[in-house]
């Protein structure tokens, strides 16, 4: 067993880690700290990574745990809220550079809607729809049974659909 992590794959995973961190924290300043903490943790725990297994899924798992722990720490200061709760709109998500005007409106809607989902649902949706992880891998990331992953996914999709229907300008089909 080699006691190291592959650098190229780790660097290649960085954009995805940053994106996931930003979706988790909803804050582009705090999210890079989360990425950095995750990388430090990954290097500490490198003996737990099995060569040849999906590094990306493993890193998401570490990030999930680091985020949950940091969240728990912050809860000492801010009581009365939980990871499952709707925790209000998320600030700090920029719309990608030079989107066209109609794209901008549409992307702004998508970000606003995602931000209104509870963190665990946001996580499942990102991992399933955007990162295209297998449901089993998502279950490992969140450390819950696969049935929980599927019900969270289903609820997240249902909510997004309802939010899209409530939007005055309906979302157009993206081809």
């Amino acid at each position: 067993m080699r006691n190291t992590l592959p650098h190229p794959e780790l660097v290649a995973a960085l954009p995805r880690l940053r994106r996931y961190a930003r979706v988790l924290t909803g804050d582009s300043c705090r999210s890079d700290d989360l990425v950095q903490d995750t990388l430090a943790r990954a290097w500490e725990k490198r003996h737990l990574w099995r060569q040849g297994s999906d590094l990306r899924a493993w890193l998401f798992t570490i990030m999930h745990n680091v985020h949950v722990n940091q969240f728990a720490l912050r809860q000492r200061d801010f009581a009365n809220s939980s990871l499952d709760a709707d925790d209000g709109p998320v600030a700090g998500w920029e719309i990608p550079v030079r989107a066209t005007q109609s794209d901008r409106v549409e992307l702004a809607e998508v970000f606003a809607q995602i931000a209104r989902l509870p963190v665990v649902q946001r996580e499942v949706l990102m991992l399933a729809a955007v990162e295209e992880l297998r449901y089993e891998e998502i279950a490992r990331v969140q450390d819950v049974p696969i049935g929980t992953v599927m019900s969270r996914l289903s609820r997240a999709r249902e909510k997004l659909k309802r939010m899209a229907m409530d939007t005055p300008t309906p979302l157009k089909v993206v081809k």
Binding site: E9, A12, R18, R22, D32, R134, L160
Partner: protein, 267 residues
């Protein structure tokens, strides 16, 4: 005829995500053919997936902060608590310098410093490293759907594209995907040889490509890239192959595109 159970809510989700076991997926596919309402729900889920990827994929092309690259490579010790406050300021200074650099030099050739995917060959290398390493989902649309892939990418990029035929080099098309660019999106076609080694062709038409270039070679993080600019369009062949092999591939791609130039197929 055996009675087949109607698909559950979870199964519809799994089917839409391509995660249902093959046998059950076939049954559900047959059921959907006769149930337009269920088929519409599956299409709705897939549409939502595409919308989310379109919204979040451009984030992947953002420049990476140096401290994260260092943390990933473990090149530098993690800054001590005492200096943590300085990072936002440092990052702001770097961004400012980069901004000035971009403005000053016009083209993105000077941004190697922070390892940002800004230069065209760098973008090609990083994009290749990102997707070619992905065993399950290297592409968004598979080669089995080549015509739809080419039509879709041509539509998104705004000009007619072609997936070159590299079978003479033992490379088969895996598929392709849309990728973020500086100004406009790019198209990525991925190919694979019998040993499952992959190369990718990145095509992007952009305002920054105002001058034509000959073949150029660059190496980024172990990925070799041959690239050239022709008719305001940048082409890059990227892969972990040696320079000679990449050049041979680039020549074939170039010749095929040049051959199309004279034919009515081009437009």
């Amino acid at each position: 005829m055996n009675a087949v159970l109607p698909p559950s809510e979870d199964e519809l989700n799994a089917y839409a995500d391509g995660q249902l076991a093959a046998e059950r997926a076939r049954q559900v596919g047959e059921t959907l053919a006769g149930e337009p309402a269920l088929a519409a729900r599956v299409e709705e889920i897939r549409r939502q997936n595409r919308l989310l990827r379109d919204a979040f994929d451009p984030w992947l092309a953002e420049p990476l902060p140096r401290r994260l690259l260092a943390a990933a490579r473990r090149a530098a010790p993690i800054p001590s608590e005492r200096w943590q406050w300085a990072w936002p300021a440092f990052a702001a200074v770097i961004s400012l310098l980069l901004g000035i650099g971009v403005g000053w030099f016009g083209r993105g050739e000077v941004l190697q410093l922070t390892g940002t995917p800004v230069t065209f060959p760098r973008q090609a290398a990083v994009t290749h490293a990102l997707y070619a390493a992905d065993a399950n989902r290297p592409v968004e649309v598979w080669a089995s759907d080549e015509q739809r892939l080419v039509n879709w990418l041509s539509k998104r990029l705004g000009f007619a594209l072609h997936a070159p035929d590299l079978s003479s080099l033992g490379l088969a098309l895996v598929g392709g995907r849309l990728v973020a660019g500086n100004d406009k999106p790019g198209a990525l076609f991925m190919y694979e040889n019998a040993d499952k080694r992959r190369i990718s062709l990145l095509v992007r038409r952009d305002g920054e490509f105002s001058h034509e270039t000959a073949f150029r070679y660059a190496q980024e993080d172990g990925v070799g890239v041959f690239y050239w600019i022709d008719d305001n369009c940048g082409y890059a062949i990227a892969g972990r192959l040696d320079k000679g092999q990449l050049l041979a591939i680039s020549r074939v791609v170039y010749q095929q595109l040049a051959a199309l130039e004279g034919s009515p197929q081009k437009r």
